[in-house]
């Protein structure tokens, strides 16, 4: 029983935090990329790669750092706190885990090495609800249309889950292949880039034939990493609001001296610390306790609605200034709301969780 970060983990956190503050700040970087479909510039991505963050989950044999979701979560939290708009979650977590959890490692050695050294950005299409995609397999060609693919404009490699024979195939396609169309889907959060990807007889390589269990495990990884990102966003906007409450004066005193404001701040803190509890447990379970991984991912997603209230409350503490475009509070609220909306709103997950409490056996699968 030791839930403290190690010295190395603290160093990783501080390094990423410092890098983002210096090289990818909200004012000078994030806001410039709000309307940019890729959400990244080469210098920042190479910087993240040279810190080892893109290859954190890539096994050492493929040129990565070979760490666990605990370290990935530390990076994700900082990226969320910095509202980072790049494809890190897609490439360093979703694509990497899709390749390593489905046994595609050797066939995908080149992709993994590229992810690790930053020369390849990858994303996964069809993760949320594979049956809803109309992707067909025809020889080594993909057809169909996949919605809500994150970071498809930035990615050089698209990993596509497609119906294949009697099951599912994991395919890799180069993003510039003939027959691929990428259309932005504008969601609430401009720091999250999502796309509709059309596939019209696209040449692709079969990498693996993952089981539903494999895919569910990757979905859990992605949910858990996104929960860490959202935790970072919630923590950051809470801290901004608390610091503001200490310096903003009305009626001759700091507004943070009023109990009404203090209790709003504590409400945010309570929610953030509950979320942190869930996130660290899920990050640990992702690799160390497979039986706990899915329940912990489910909880993290189910808590997303409550976590988003931190953004709402922060804006309330800021008052009018928090309602402006100029202020960063809305960017944080949107980041939290897009997490809450991702793969379906919280009620669906709360209900699933409630059902798993009411009927503890047998272990329920994802619906």
């Amino acid at each position: 029983m030791n839930l403290e970060l190690t010295e190395e983990q603290v160093a990783l956190r501080d390094t990423v935090r410092r890098f983002l503050a210096e090289k990818a700040p909200i004012s000078g970087h994030v806001r410039q990329l709000l309307d940019d479909p890729s959400g990244i510039d080469d210098a920042v991505w190479q910087g993240l790669a040279s810190l080892g963050t893109t290859g954190l989950l890539v096994p050492e044999e493929y040129g990565g750092v070979g760490m666990t979701m605990v370290e990935a979560g530390i990076v994700a939290e900082e990226l969320g706190a910095g509202l980072h708009p790049g494809p890190w979650l897609s490439s360093a977590v979703a694509a990497t885990r899709m390749l390593t959890r489905t046994g595609a490692g050797k066939a995908a050695a080149g992709i993994l090495a590229g992810i690790a050294d930053g020369t390849t950005m990858a994303t996964v299409g069809g993760l949320g609800d594979i049956r809803a995609t109309a992707v067909q397999h025809d020889g080594a060609r993909l057809r169909g249309e996949i919605v809500a693919v994150p970071d498809a404009a930035a990615a050089g490699v698209l990993l596509i889950l497609a119906e294949y024979r009697d099951g599912t195939g994991l395919f890799a396609a180069q993003a510039n292949s003939t027959g691929i169309s990428v259309t932005p889907e504008r969601g609430i959060d401009q720091t999250r880039k999502r796309f509709r990807v059309g596939l019209d007889d696209v040449a692709a390589d079969l990498l693996a034939t993952p089981s539903p269990r494999d895919i569910a495990a990757v979905v859990d990884d992605v949910l858990i990493a996104m929960a860490a990102d959202a935790l970072g966003a919630a923590r950051a906007v809470m801290q901004l609001a608390i610091e503001y409450a200490k310096v903003r004066r009305q009626f001759g005193q700091a507004i943070g001296s009023f109990q009404a404001i203090q209790h709003l701040c504590v409400d945010m803190y309570e929610t953030v610390e509950l979320a942190r509890s869930g996130v660290i447990h899920a990050l640990w379970a992702a690799d160390a306790a497979p039986d706990e991984r899915h329940p912990s991912a489910l909880r993290a997603k189910a808590f997303a609605g409550r976590l988003a209230t931190v953004g709402d409350t922060a804006i309330q503490v800021f008052g009018g200034i928090g309602y402006t475009w100029e202020h960063d509070a809305h960017l944080y609220l949107k980041r939290l709301l897009s997490w809450s909306e991702f793969l379906g709103g919280p009620d669906r997950y709360l209900t699933e969780l409630g059902a798993s409490v009411a009927h503890p056996e047998p272990t329920r699968g994802r619906t």
Binding site: M1, L3, Q259, H263, S277, G278, R299, E352
Partner: protein
């Protein structure tokens, strides 16, 4: 990052489980939440306390010299989890053992320790704590009950309220004002008072559900022997804060108790054939996720204690969260099973979760100022 417990702690868990399964009867489980007027249940629980004491399971956090096991923090955590999940009754002297005994161990004379502690552990004597007053609730240091030295005695006059077990107590750990001219925190002393002394009047307070959990105590010229002073004269405030260093895993009771309530609720839903609609399942999920997160919050707090991490104001936070979850659980239970007597009762008594032991609002003030660094008014 590691959530698992060391093997020796799991061994401790196994020993305790074995003992509980051999000794904890259905009758005891049924008696575990006695109403204040149920004398038979009270005596049943007294017998249980003695059985636990004889087997060395009554006060695991106490040092061995006082009948405890000198349990480590993780052992205390496991002890709390297991006894709560097994639905074992709390010790009758739960307040005494957790809050009064540590002060006696630190400040008491050898004779006080030898005579008082074993009898407290076995529930031979029942203890209460005289703290709150009508004009000193959340602002405890404003207490006004006076004690004036007169030869070999303190003469006590005043009134206490919300005194748990006051109507059954043999002893009272009483906080009194001994220096009315000092700043309010520096004029308080702590006395050990025999409740049979002349001049003490006890009036049971009837709570909102008709129960008797606590009492008002009235002191009229009560002559308390001067050797009943616990700790330094006018050093009562530091005596009151001693407790914290001992029972460090008490927070485990918060989530373990809610887990038990949730299990009971789910079982009662199933028995009544209700609770399968999406709205109820959604509310159930909402409660379940927070109970799990409260559990991890408490584990983080203990990890910080063990490994020198930042405790992030977790104690105060955990209590606030616990009260909110408990009330939501009570509301859900009543909304679905309103005619069930037990859940209707819990719907009412759950109001105390955000009041007793420091209101949620006071807790939030403390967190705002001490943890978040917001300025005092």
């Amino acid at each position: 990052m590691d959530f698992s417990y060391p093997a020796e702690v799991e061994h401790f868990r196994c020993d305790l489980r074995a003992w509980l399964s051999a000794n904890l009867t259905d009758e005891l489980i049924a008696a575990r939440r006695p109403t204040g007027r149920d004398d038979a249940a009270f005596e049943t629980l007294r017998t249980w306390n003695r059985a636990m004491a004889d087997a060395g399971w009554a006060a695991v956090s106490w040092p061995r010299e006082y009948g405890g096991r000198g349990a480590t923090v993780l052992e205390q955590l496991v002890y709390t989890e297991e006894t709560t999940r097994a639905r074992a009754p709390l010790p009758l002297n739960v307040i005494g053992m957790n809050n009064i005994a540590p002060a006696i161990m630190q400040y008491g004379t050898e004779s006080q320790k030898e005579t008082l502690l074993p009898r407290m552990m076995r529930a031979d004597d029942i203890w209460c704590q005289g703290m709150s007053e009508p004009e000193a609730g959340s602002d405890l240091a404003a207490l006004r009950t006076r004690a004036v030295r007169d030869g070999e005695h303190f003469v006590v006059n005043g009134q206490k309220i919300w005194t748990s077990l006051g109507h059954r107590a043999d002893w009272c750990q009483l906080y009194v004002r001994t220096d009315p001219d000092a700043p309010k925190h520096k004029g308080i002393s702590c006395l050990i008072v025999d409740m049979k002394l002349p001049g003490i009047e006890v009036r049971p307070l009837v709570t909102l559900n008709g129960d008797t959990d606590f009492a008002e105590l009235f002191f009229h010229d009560v002559r308390v022997p001067a050797d009943g002073l616990l700790g330094p004269l006018n050093g009562g405030w530091q005596v009151a804060t001693t407790t914290l260093s001992h029972e460090r895993a008490g927070a485990a009771r918060l989530y373990a108790e809610l887990q038990v309530r949730l299990e009971e609720l789910v079982a009662d839903f199933a028995a009544a054939g209700v609770g399968e609609d999406p709205v109820t399942l959604c509310r159930l999920g909402e409660i379940a996720v927070r109970i799990k997160y409260l559990e991890v919050l408490c584990q983080r707090s203990i990890s910080a204690t063990l490994h020198g991490g930042d405790a992030f104001g977790s104690a105060s936070l955990a209590k606030t969260v616990w009260g909110e979850i408990g009330q939501d659980l009570a509301a859900l239970a009543f909304d679905v099973l309103g005619m069930n007597r037990r859940w209707a009762d819990y719907r009412l008594t759950s109001r105390s979760l955000t009041i007793a032991g420091g209101t949620t609002q006071i807790n939030k003030n403390i967190t705002a100022q001490r943890v978040l660094g917001l300025p005092r008014t």
